[in-house]
């Protein structure tokens, strides 16, 4: 990225705070992940920030990334990608850009295998298909 483009980088966007009851999770796996965090007393926020990852020379946003969860005390973002492999590749690419632009931000990308392992350790692996989806078999 050239210097001019760096200078026009749009600011990180703070998303509106929503109470836990009103959060509209994009996928059942996210709801279950939130439930696990609550169970173990971990403070979290859902998509609190949107990080610009690409923009034009005038600073107009072309691409951005909003990690799903922010673990407050751990200062850690977690992105769940439990759907198709194609989406995982897309998110990996966005994550690489995010890490390059914001090296101070700690982000973990959890794929289907990661989420399955979590369910296994929690003893609820039978919920895998329900939570991850019919198209979620490991390739």
């Amino acid at each position: 990225m050239n210097q001019r483009k760096d200078q026009t980088r749009p600011p990180v966007i703070e998303n509106p705070t929503v109470s836990k009851e009103d959060i509209e999770f994009q996928h059942p796996s996210e709801r279950e992940f939130a439930r696990v965090l609550d169970y173990y007393g971990i403070a979290w926020q859902y998509e609190p920030l949107t990080f610009p990852t690409d923009w034009d020379d005038e600073g107009n946003l072309l691409e951005a990334f909003s990690p799903d969860f922010y673990l407050v005390e751990q200062d850690l973002y977690v992105e769940l990608t439990t759907l198709r492999q194609k989406l995982t590749r897309l998110k990996r690419r966005k994550l690489r850009r995010l890490r390059g632009l914001y090296p101070e931000v700690r982000v973990q990308l959890w794929n289907r295998k990661d989420f399955r392992r979590l369910l296994e350790r929690l003893g609820i692996e039978e919920l895998g298909e329900e939570l991850i989806g019919q198209n979620a078999k490991e390739s």
Partner: protein
Amino acid sequence: MDTQAMRLDSHLDRVVLTEEEIGARIAAIGSEISDDYAGRDPLLVGVLNGVVMFMADLLRAITIPVGVDFMAISHYAADRGAGTVRITKDLDESITGRHVLFVEDVIDTGLTLNYLLRALRTREPASLNVCVLFDRPYRRLIDIPLAYHGFELPDEFVVGYGLDSNGHYRNLPYVGVLKPDVRL
């Protein structure tokens, strides 16, 4: 296939840690703990049930006087949607002012261990350190300093030496990868 009638070792695809490897590492950890805690009368604390085998072998590898106590917590699978972790069996001994070594068979995300350490810290022990035999660092959400550490496990579903699948396989004296079609 009647998996209930099969010998447990026939359920495994392969062994990843032998009984001898585990024993040698525990002996080394026990020796370290004996040196580090000499004269401090530490209390070893474990969470039931997975830690039983490790705790039993570790205690026998420690050569200084130590106490031992256990606690138990609710399981997410049984409690799903019920809110938060519950301590279903608390420690019998007070840990206030004691040097506590928390002994755990495995650390994965760190969620369980983090919860328990927070609960124990409120009781104001003189010190609180962690000894973990098996480390699965691949999905660590909570960074927890490990004073004593045994092995890093492969990123596969393994059982044995305290690690279970639906409550089974803990009694295997080694750690192995389950065959995909025989899980109890």
